[in-house]
C-alpha cells in the first residue's frame, strides 16, 4: 500500500458544550489505498461519523478540528497545513452519502435538478446532455423508468430508492473515494442487502475506494477489505477483514464479533458487552475500554498504543487474545 490516497494523521475533533469540552475524536490515524474498501466500525458515539465528517470538511459549530491533519494524495485537506479552502476535492473526488435518505434530499427540488447540479458542476454538461447523463446514472443505480423519475420529487421515492438517488449523485462526479455513513441503517433488511450489493458492484466497476461506516460487523464482513475498529474516539484495532475476524486482538473487537449474529455458525446465544462507553468529557487515561473489559490489568491504566499483531494488523491492547475466554469462534 504505497502512495496512499487518503491519510488521516492524529486527527482530533473537539466539541465545546455547556457541560464542558467533549473530545469526540482523539488522535485517529488511518490510511486508505486506491480501490480499497475500509470498514470503520464502532458503537454510537465512538467518533466514527465525526471522523468522516471531518474528512469531508463538514464539522460545524459547536465542533471544531482541534489538531492533526487529513491529506488527500499527499495534499493537506483538513487541519494542519491547510492554507485555503481546497476546491474541487469535496464533491468531486471525495463524495459522501448519509444515514437518513429520507432527509438527505432537498424536498422542494426534483431529483433530476439535484442530480443535474453535480453533473453541471463537475462534468460541465447542460440541458439535454445533462439529462441523458442523469438518466444513465439513475439507471446505473438500479432505478427503472429513469427519465420519468427525474421529474419527480423526493417524497415520491421510497427510502431505498432515495438512497439509490443519493448514490447516483455521489458517483456522478466520477469520484475516487465514497464515504458511506451508515448507508443502510435506516432501511429495511431486504433493502439493506440490495444497497450493499449495489455499492460492491459500483466499487468493482468504477475502481472506487470506499469508507463504510457502520456498527454492524456483518456488513463489514461482506463488503470490506480492511476494518478499523473505533472506541471512545480512538482506533483500537485495524487489520484485514479475515485477520480481524479470525484473530481479533482487542477485547472490544472480540466482544463485537461475539455479539454479531451469524447465519453460518450455530451458536448457543449472543453475548452482549456490559456497561456503557465512557463519557468523553474527561476521557480516561490509558485504555478507554478498561472498565468494561473482562481481562483488564494494572498495565491498562497506562497510555496505550497500537501494537503489531502480524502483517498489517494492529491492536492497542496489552491483555491480548482470548479476553472473553472464547477466542475466535
Amino acid at each position: 500500500m504505497n502512495d496512499p490516497l487518503l491519510e488521516i494523521d492524529d486527527l482530533r475533533v473537539d466539541f465545546d458544550t455547556r457541560a464542558g469540552l467533549v473530545q469526540a475524536v482523539r488522535g485517529v490515524s488511518l490510511t486508505l489505498g486506491r480501490g480499497e474498501t475500509l470498514g470503520l466500525v464502532g458503537e454510537s458515539g465512538s467518533g466514527k461519523s465525526v471522523t468522516a465528517q471531518a474528512v469531508m470538511g463538514l464539522i460545524d459549530v459547536p465542533g471544531r478540528i482541534a489538531g492533526g491533519a487529513v491529506r488527500w494524495n499527499g495534499m493537506p485537506l483538513v487541519g494542519e497545513g491547510v492554507r485555503r479552502r481546497p476546491r474541487r476535492i469535496w464533491g468531486r473526488e471525495i463524495t459522501m452519502i448519509f444515514q437518513n435518505p429520507m432527509t438527505s434530499l432537498n424536498p422542494l427540488m426534483t431529483v433530476g435538478a439535484q442530480l443535474g447540479e453535480v453533473i453541471h458542476l463537475y462534468l460541465g454538461l447542460r440541458g439535454a446532455a445533462a439529462r441523458t447523463r442523469a438518466a444513465e446514472l439513475l439507471d446505473a443505480v438500479g432505478i427503472s423508468g429513469a427519465s420519468r423519475r427525474l421529474d419527480q420529487y423526493p417524497h415520491e421515492f421510497s427510502g431505498g430508492m432515495r438512497q439509490r438517488v443519493m448514490i447516483a449523485m455521489a458517483i456522478a462526479s466520477e469520484p475516487r473515494l465514497l464515504i458511506a455513513d451508515e448507508p443502510t441503517t435506516a432501511l429495511d433488511v431486504t433493502i439493506q442487502a440490495q444497497i450493499l450489493e449495489l455499492l460492491a458492484g459500483l466499487q468493482e466497476k468504477l475502481g472506487l475506494s470506499i469508507i463504510l461506516i457502520t456498527h454492524d460487523l456483518g456488513i463489514v464482513a461482506g463488503l470490506c477489505h480492511r476494518v478499523a475498529v473505533m472506541y471512545a474516539g480512538q482506533i483500537v484495532e485495524t487489520g484485514t477483514v479475515d485477520d480481524i475476524f479470525a484473530r481479533p486482538g482487542h477485547p472490544y473487537t472480540q466482544g463485537l464479533i461475539r455479539s454479531t449474529p451469524r447465519l453460518d455458525a450455530v451458536e448457543d446465544r449472543l453475548v452482549s458487552i456490559d456497561g456503557t462507553p465512557p463519557g468523553l468529557r474527561t476521557p480516561p487515561e490509558g485504555c478507554a475500554f478498561r472498565p468494561r473489559c473482562p481481562a483488564a490489568q494494572a498495565a491498562c491504566h497506562a497510555p496505550q498504543r497500537l501494537a503489531s499483531h502480524g502483517a498489517g494488523h494492529v491492536a492497542c491492547c496489552r491483555a491480548g487474545v482470548d479476553a472473553w475466554d472464547v477466542g475466535a469462534a
Partner: protein, 308 residues
Amino acid sequence: MTQARPHRPLRALLAELWQDKPAALGLAVILAIVAMAILAPLVAPYDPADQSILSRLTPPVWNDRGSWEHILGTDNLGRDVFSRLIWGARTTLTIGGLTCLIAAGIGTVVGLWAGFMGGRTDSVLMRLVDIQVSFPGILLILLVVGVLGPGMWTLIIVLSVTNWMVYARLVRSVVSSTRQTPYVEAAEVIGCRPSRVIFVHILPNLVSPLLTLLILEFTNIVLAEAAVSFLGFGVQPPDTSWGLDVASGRDYLFIAWWLVTFPGLAIVATVLSINLFANWLRVTTDPEEREKRHARTVAARRRRRGTA
C-alpha cells in the same frame, strides 16, 4: 481543563446572561422601567398634570434655554415631560400587563379545552380561532371605540378580545403533542383523572413557551396601545400615555422637537429591551441553540486569547 459547573443554578444563569451584554442591558432597563412605574409618585419631580403657563415649552436641560427644573423640558401647557414619561410608564405597563393576563387566561383555557377534548370540539374551537384571527385588527378596535367611546378599559377589553387566539393556538398545539407522548398516554391508561393529567403532566410543558409568547405579545400590546392612543381612541386626558403625549406634541413638531421625541424614545426603549431579553430567553430555552451560543462564546474567547 473544563470549568466546574456552578452549583447555584440562578447564579449560573445570570453569568450566562452577562455573556450577552445587550440582553443583560435589556433586563436592566426593563427592571428600571418597572421600578419607575411602581414608584411613580415618589420618583416623578412634578405632578404630570400640573400646568404652568410661565414655563411652557421649555427645552431640555442641555439646551441654552433649558433649566435643571425640567430635565426633559415642558410641553405646551408647561407640564413636565420627564414626570409625564414616568407616569406614562404606569399606564403602559398596566394596560400591557392586564391585557396579556386576560388574553392569556382566555387563550389558555380555550386551548386546554380544545387540545384535551379533541375531535369535534377541537375543530369547532380552532375554526373559531381562525375566523377571529382574520378579523381586521386595529380597524375593528376603531369601530368598537367609535361606538362605545374611547377609554382605558375599552382598550383593555378590546385588545384582550382580539389577542387571545395566539395563546389558544399555542396551548392547543402543546397539549395535543404532549398528549401523544408515551408518559401521558400511560397516565391516561392507568386511569389518571383528566384534571390531574392537565396539572401534573401538561401544564409544566406549557410554562416555557407560554412565557416566551407572553413576553413577545406584551410588546405588541404596548405598541398597539401607543398607536391607538396616538390616534386619539385610547387613553384619554387627563390620564397620561406615551402615545397620547406623542400625539399632543405633534402640533409642536416644528418648534419643540422634544415633545414628540422623548415619549417615542420611551416606547422604543421599553420594547427594544424586552425584545433583546426575549431573544436571549428564546435561545436559552432551546437546548440546541444554547449549545451553539456557548461554543461561539468559547471560540470568541479563544480567538481573543490567541491574538492578544
